[in-house]
């Protein structure tokens, strides 16, 4: 068996991205075509322009895969996204409620002030991220084979809301440092939702490969 040097292969992460959003039937012809043109470009223009071309094609192709995936089951995807949004609204209150119920019970404020500060700031934020991860898993499972479109769409909804709140906070003259810290913590939630989608997708793909072999 012959091994190709890494530089002569298409960019690994571009392939990974297409595999995430495309169905198995699509990847066969789509990646085959991209691989063929990439091989031709490596010979005619060199490795770097060929890799750049592959990345450009990947970025231009992803929105089409996204739309096609949505059109394949629009109602199921919409239901998964709406259910995820409502679940997220409920889940997001849980860490704060739980932490502020537990901290006074163990008199943390009086005895361990630094622990109190940690749980009431980072503890709540981490709780949000874990909650988002679980919501992402739920949405990905409900959306079946459209886990990436459903979780990405839900993450985009939250990103839009975060962006609106961030610009509003800037206009209320929040200190920029606080606004940026707030933005980073808020962005962790949509990222966690997409990460959950990727994990479910990878697990399902692995399952498919195992069934095929």
């Amino acid at each position: 068996m012959k091994f190709q040097p890494d530089s002569l292969r298409p960019p690994y992460y571009a392939l990974w991205l297409i595999n995430l959003f495309a169905s198995s039937e699509e990847t066969e012809s789509l990646l085959g075509d991209m691989h063929e043109e990439f091989s031709e470009l490596v010979l005619t223009t060199g490795v770097a322009p060929a890799r750049l071309w592959f990345w450009r094609q990947t970025i231009a192709t992803l929105p089409h895969l996204f739309i096609k995936s949505f059109q394949g089951a629009p109602w199921l995807t919409a239901v998964a996204v709406i259910a995820g949004f409502l679940l997220m609204r409920t889940v997001s209150r849980v860490p704060e409620t739980a932490i502020f119920a537990l901290l006074p019970r163990y008199r943390v404020f009086e005895n361990h002030f630094s622990t109190y500060v940690f749980f009431s700031t980072y503890g709540i934020a981490l709780g949000h991220v874990v909650g988002s991860l679980f919501v992402g898993f739920g949405v990905a499972v409900v959306a079946k084979r459209r886990e990436m479109i459903a979780t990405t769409a839900l993450a985009l909804v939250f990103c839009t809301l975060i962006a609106i709140s961030w610009f509003a906070s800037i206009s209320w003259r929040w200190p920029v440092h606080d606004a940026i810290t707030w933005l980073l913590w808020q962005c962790a939630d949509p990222v966690a939702i997409v990460v959950a989608g990727v994990m479910v997708r990878n697990r399902r793909s692995r399952g498919q490969i195992l069934r095929c072999t």
Partner: protein
């Protein structure tokens, strides 16, 4: 007063990019698959086209019944993946003929070189 009314089929028309794709398939005949279709359109229209846009349009045309597809053999040059060849159906040929006629009727009598360049 009487009018000659031509009944138009409901939503049975080609969009601009669909039109280009069907024309590319007709030009390429038996050699029409993703790579050749994309390159043919880029070469003749001088506009950059993504392979994703080509496949999205080809899938839409296949759903409308304008094109059909079949799989070729896998090749090492394609990382062991097979080609998906496309062919224009009779319904597709009728649609492209209608689009061409409409375009010819709309452009008849217009002097593009003198008036609009």
């Amino acid at each position: 007063m009487f009018y000659n009314v031509e009944v138009m089929p409901d939503r049975d028309y080609l969009g601009e990019f669909e039109h280009l794709i069907v024309l590319a398939l007709l030009r390429l005949d038996d050699l029409a698959y993703g790579v050749t279709v994309r390159q043919e359109i880029e070469l003749r229209t001088k506009r950059e086209v993504s392979i994703g846009a080509v496949y999205a349009t080809l899938d839409r045309l296949e759903r409308k019944g304008y094109v059909s597809s079949y799989r070729g053999d896998p090749t090492p040059q394609r990382g062991g993946r097979s080609k998906r060849f496309f062919r224009v159906t009779q319904k597709g040929i009728a649609a492209v003929n209608r689009a061409q006629h409409a375009l010819r009727r709309m452009t008849a009598g217009l002097d593009f070189i003198r008036s609009y360049s």
